[in-house]
């Protein structure tokens, strides 16, 4: 399976602007209203709040106590926990969707985490920074140092991110563990989807992050 085969576009409506992050709007659009969602690594709960405005029953897991505190203050149901160690305790089919937004690269075992997402949820939505992005390539190629961006400002020795991958790598992982990609988007530097139907290597080069709607099955 190539990225190209699974990359139709989703558009954002005009009213969905301004208040929420563009990548969050895209994720929210992928979730059917009325479903039950677990947001793994939910931060301060912005995405969960957006989902609640769409009538979605959202729950969260967050590593930092400050994040949990902010979420609880917003009335969100958020549990302090670690994606690497806590997901195994969740029962099968507990949620309609499990979301992993900008967290995959910080997990110790991305493959195991991905498998858990699709065990707990019937579908998973995963977004991550694309290490194949041209700026990343350029920093390594020309600058000769580990890339840093506005979204990923930490230096290599003090970053929480330990498993970077490219869009291409991620697609290969999905293939390897038999995960079906229902929808894929590449987002530009501002979190907006690249609108054109492009060959996958262009996405891998010009997408700053990838957002994937995944489901079980599709094993060869």
């Amino acid at each position: 399976m190539s990225v190209q085969e699974v990359l139709p576009l989703g558009g954002l409506t005009a009213e969905q602007s301004g208040h929420f992050r563009a990548d969050h709007l895209l994720v929210a659009e992928m979730v059917k209203p009325g479903s039950k969602v677990l947001d793994v690594g939910c931060g301060e709960g912005d995405l969960l709040q957006l989902l609640e405005t769409r009538g979605i029953d959202g729950r969260g897991i967050e590593l930092s106590r400050e994040g949990v505190n902010r979420c609880v203050a917003k009335g969100l149901a958020v549990v302090q926990g670690d994606a690497d160690t806590d997901l195994v305790n969740y029962p099968d089919d507990a949620f309609d969707y499990v979301i992993l937004s900008q967290t995959l690269q910080a997990t110790r075992q991305p493959k195991v985490v991905l498998e858990n997402l699709l065990r707990i949820g019937r579908r998973a939505i995963v977004s991550f920074p694309n290490f194949g992005f041209w700026r990343m390539r350029l920093q390594l190629l020309i600058g000769g140092h580990m890339p840093r961006t506005d979204n990923l400002p930490a230096t290599w020795y003090d970053t929480a991110n330990i498993h970077f991958c490219t869009i291409k790598d991620f697609v290969e992982l999905c293939d390897a563990i038999g995960v079906k990609m229902e929808r894929a988007e590449a987002l530009d530097l501002y979190g907006r989807p690249l609108r054109l139907r492009l060959p996958w290597w262009v996405w891998n080069m010009f997408g700053e992050q990838g957002v994937f709607l995944l489901s079980r099955g599709g094993r060869k």
Partner: protein, 400 residues
């Protein structure tokens, strides 16, 4: 010869305490023969009474009632001066004007548990059948029994649904039992430093305490009331052992280290040379002033028997299936009596039951006791949880 100073005898007379047992200075709800309390052991307890305190006022639609459940040796005097010890309420850090549980906003209820010794019927009460103190003739009670009695009190107060049930340690066990037994009657639940079952280690510590009480020659097989004495030495030892489990090594070290008490050099005796020793002796002796030894046996036993999963075929999630209560679970990093792992197990079960649950582990070196102390992060999260639940419940207040 080695000198040993004895534990100072109680400063408060036994009369003060025994008066509070049957005639408490707080409010009392009496339940007569027509309303027996069905106990898990198969006995119908009747008549019986529940002593309780309230703070604040019930609003017009009766939607702002909060039940506070006290811990093992607590009582109903949560935010007022204690009638026996003269000390401030045990949870004034959480309850009071400007605190997370503000009486201007909520109608706060706290009852002495059944089996206690501050006005609710327990082993220190007079058995109406004999006219003598119950002692060991009192039936063994459980956490579900305590909660069943509280539910009867809440009925008596004309409250259908509690806005919140709040408690730590044994109080947290009651909170969980409330939600498992009466899910529709609990809108939100704040369970702190607790567990759905008492661990083997905790049962072991309780057994140590009970054996200390029973080894006191003044205990007289539980019949000490007939002899006009109280096994205060055994109970003090039980309290000392328990108190160690409420703290952490780091907290003890910070507070006392190996510092000596009123001296430079060791006395080469079994006097309380170390500050930590005199602290524990003080804790033990002040406890016996206000607590009944048999009550201690019964309440520790109730905690030991507690196992929500066991009551539901071993599957914890079944206890909370389809529950709509909003949960907030809080644990403390240095709590080794109810470690975070136990709270996590609860949270996972609640998640598996589709319950709406929040959970935070508070970083502190103050051990299990942290829930009674001034820990700002704990208050922040409690306040945030109660306020957001209040908003969802439509509780209108002056400050929103």
């Amino acid at each position: 010869m080695v000198g040993v100073k004895s534990v100072p005898s109680p400063a408060i007379s036994a009369d003060d305490r025994s008066h509070e047992v049957d005639h408490p200075s707080s409010q009392v709800a009496q339940f007569g023969a027509e309303q027996p309390l069905r106990l898990d052991c198969g006995v119908d307890l009747s008549p019986f009474q529940i002593a309780y305190q309230t703070y604040g006022e019930l609003n017009a639609d009766r939607s702002n009632a909060v039940l506070i459940c006290h811990a093992l040796t607590g009582d109903q005097h949560v935010a007022n001066v204690h009638p026996v010890t003269g000390k401030n309420g045990w949870w004034e850090t959480l309850v009071g004007p400007g605190r997370p549980l503000d009486p201007s906003r909520y109608f706060i209820i706290c009852a002495n548990v059944i089996g206690g010794c501050m006005g609710s019927t327990g082993p220190a009460s007079i058995n109406p059948a004999t006219g003598k103190v119950w002692g060991l003739d009192f039936p063994v009670i459980t956490i579900p029994d305590m909660v069943r009695a509280q539910a009867m009190l809440i009925d008596r107060l004309g409250i259908d649904t509690l806005f919140a049930v709040v408690g730590g340690s044994m109080g947290g066990m009651q909170v969980l039992q409330w939600t498992a037994a009466y899910p529709k009657r609990v809108y939100s639940a704040l369970a702190i430093a607790c567990s759905t079952r008492h661990s083997a280690q905790n049962i072991a510590f309780h057994e140590l305490g009970r054996q200390a009480v029973m080894a006191d020659p003044d205990w007289h097989n539980g019949g000490y009331a007939d002899h006009g004495i109280h096994p205060h030495r055994g109970l003090a030892v039980a309290r000392m052992a328990a108190h160690i489990t409420y703290l952490s090594d780091a907290a003890l070290h910070r507070k006392f280290g190996r510092r000596m008490q009123d001296r430079e050099l060791p006395t080469f005796s079994f006097d309380a040379d170390f500050q930590v020793e005199s602290y524990l002796r003080y804790q033990g002796s002040s406890f016996v002033e206000r607590f009944d030894a048999n009550s201690y046996l019964y309440l520790t036993r109730a905690m030991d028997y507690f196992d929500i999963a066991g009551d539901h075929g071993g599957v914890l999630a079944k206890a909370f299936a389809g529950i709509e209560t909003r949960f907030c679970v809080v644990s403390f990093t240095s709590d080794w009596l109810f470690p975070t792992s136990e709270s996590r197990a609860l949270v996972h079960a609640l998640n598996a039951s589709s319950a709406r649950v929040s959970f935070a582990e508070i970083e502190t070196d103050r051990g299990h006791d942290a829930f009674l102390l001034d820990v700002p992060e704990f208050f922040d999260i409690s306040r945030a949880f109660l306020q957001s639940a209040g908003k969802a419940r439509g509780l209108t207040t002056k400050d929103g």
